[in-house]
Subunit: 270 residues, 3 copies
């Protein structure tokens, strides 16, 4: 049912160069924990963030944004109303959008919201293994952390991709990404990524940015994942990194300075 991917390091490099050249406007409807971090990640990598997340404006802005992120980290009545409007407008206008179902499976209310949003066919669904599995009926994780591996969630991801016409990006030690037909694995990254809040959330925003400037959403998701995790490898080995605080700072620096050629040389795809 799935084929070996033909997406390679050169595609990631080209994607990063294109992102920086076009600096897409990325509308983020995200949570209060990671909003600043997400904006700084987008600015560092070369995109233009705009956190328009109120119901009066979210729909109109989704028509002019290059990409939209819907992140369920801290949903409220007003922001979830804004999400519905942004998704409706994005779908109508052809704006690519990313769904990040934070803690789906662990909490009933947001799991229902996530399922409803998924039925609107996001361009990309990004989550950890437990979140992805929860959307096909799995048990869900412990709070916001996954208790399952990406490998275990791959079948669920392929199923969701086929059902909803979405690319599914499962984050974990080895990221697994699929559009239902192709499967790509990205083996970069470092355990310190789990000690900084919002790295996965920021990856969702980066995917929205790459999807804004690329035709193939699987390439967008792979390139965003590759860029973040290769930058993380470099940040982890930076002489200034002595723990999660300095690692997060170095990660922003690396996202800004990583070249497409370095990305192509270091990414481990399979």
């Amino acid at each position: 049912m799935t084929n070996t991917s033909s997406i390679g390091p050169g595609d990631c490099a080209d994607a990063l160069a294109t992102l920086r050249e076009r600096s897409p406007l990325v509308q983020c409807l995200t949570n209060i924990v990671v909003a600043q971090w997400t904006a700084n990640v987008l600015l560092a990598v070369g995109a233009a963030p705009a956190m328009v997340d109120n119901p009066e404006e979210a729909g109109a802005f989704a028509r002019i944004a290059g990409g939209v992120l819907i992140n369920l980290g801290t949903p409220y009545a007003d922001t979830t109303a804004a999400m519905e409007q942004a998704v409706g407008a994005a779908s109508d206008a052809g704006t690519p959008w990313v769904l990040d179902p934070v803690a789906a499976g662990a909490l009933a209310w947001r799991t229902e919201i996530a399922r409803k949003l998924l039925s609107d066919s996001p361009t990309v669904l990004r989550g950890n293994a437990s979140e992805v599995m929860a959307l096909t009926g799995g048990a869900g994780g412990k709070g916001v952390d996954s208790v399952d591996t990406p490998e275990a969630a791959l079948d669920a991801a392929v199923e969701l991709a086929g059902l909803h016409g979405t690319v599914v990006a499962i984050s974990g030690p080895v990221d697994h990404l699929t559009d239902g037909a192709r499967v790509v694995k990205v083996a970069n990254g470092h355990p310190l990524l789990t000690r900084v809040t919002g790295v996965g959330c920021a990856l969702g925003a980066m995917i929205a940015g790459f999807a804004a400037v690329l035709d193939d959403p699987l390439v967008a998701a792979v390139a965003a994942t590759a860029t973040l995790t290769v930058a993380a490898d470099a940040a982890a080995s930076s002489p200034s990194t002595a723990g999660p605080g300095s690692f997060a700072v170095a990660l922003l620096d690396q996202l800004a300075t990583l070249t497409p050629a370095e990305l192509a040389a270091r990414v481990r795809l399979s």
Copy 2:
């Protein structure tokens, strides 16, 4: 009325080791200013943060969380409703919870909310001296900063501890902590702590984490305070620290790398 504590450096070391081994899930209903910082502090020290703060989910999550933080920094109608539900569920389920009455005394509305929450007997009340005194009828501080010393607030703390069956942790140059019977003072810390927003707020979250894995909430509050302030001492003397920005980064690093043995060797308890 109060006895010299028998809580010692070894208790703090054991507590930190236990926290890291069990990585408790800490639900934070906190403010928009410090949510990211609080999550990063919890991740650095070894706990698992989850900022579930909406009225649809806060109660259910308080039943599965290891500890709950209620912080009144930026209360809104929906988040205060969520706080009530979280507190009700935590009390019912036996989940330890911490009340941080930010700016109580300075503002009438939140002072009333804080008094009502205090009447629900939090496991631990953490605040600066002015906030603690305001809850017994004192005048309150200047905005979010204390105008009183922990020494001056100790009588109020002992009174509140007795009335509500709560541990009271007064933050300041020398932290004073009491359960009404015992008093512990922690003399670590650095003035740079007052130049970074949310350090006290993050301490409240850390106390919730330690209380999740320890039976004695006074030990939990002392161990959390010791861990934060000993890490701050180390961060302040780090060669990379040149001001409040780099200090905050080094503090996260130190929270992640401080060993229980170092904690026991450096903490100044009395």
Copy 3:
């Protein structure tokens, strides 16, 4: 219509010394993206932040705060209600307040809110060129970024200053500030400032802090701009700066350690 300013480097130095001596309480009604950063900038430079942004308390607090910031980055129904109350109370009590009309012109709802707030005569209006021009009927920028230069917005700024009795501070490569009669240009700053979210938002908060302790709001706006951009120059050339992440950290350090004498020596006013 406008005169050469007589505001000089010595005025900036005196302003910074006064700010640090008096440590004004700055109430910030701002957005979820930059709330932490804004508080840390204010703490670093020597002011006392308090993010009181709910409708139950915002009005009362504006009467005791030294200055108030109204920032439209992520407006919601409840926070915009709080803004109206804060502005009413600040105007009534004579508390200086700053309006930052983030993304005015790009979005209809907030543009209307910004125009209404502007008609209440803020002490200072701070924005980028597109935002300022949008308030006189211009087309507005791309999301939160300016597509116009401060030079092009100066006529609009002079017009708004005269109409509303407000100082207008236009941020950009060379900041332009005017009270309608005088024009001051500040030529410090670094392109890395555009790669960190919330620098302009934090400048608005700093202006509110300086306005709290100075009689002349144009001097306050110039001194705040000078302090931020001179600190940015120093941060950009710091040996620890390797990208936007470490630059932001160094900027906080520099805001805390920059002396009035250094400020006077390095600021480029005209």
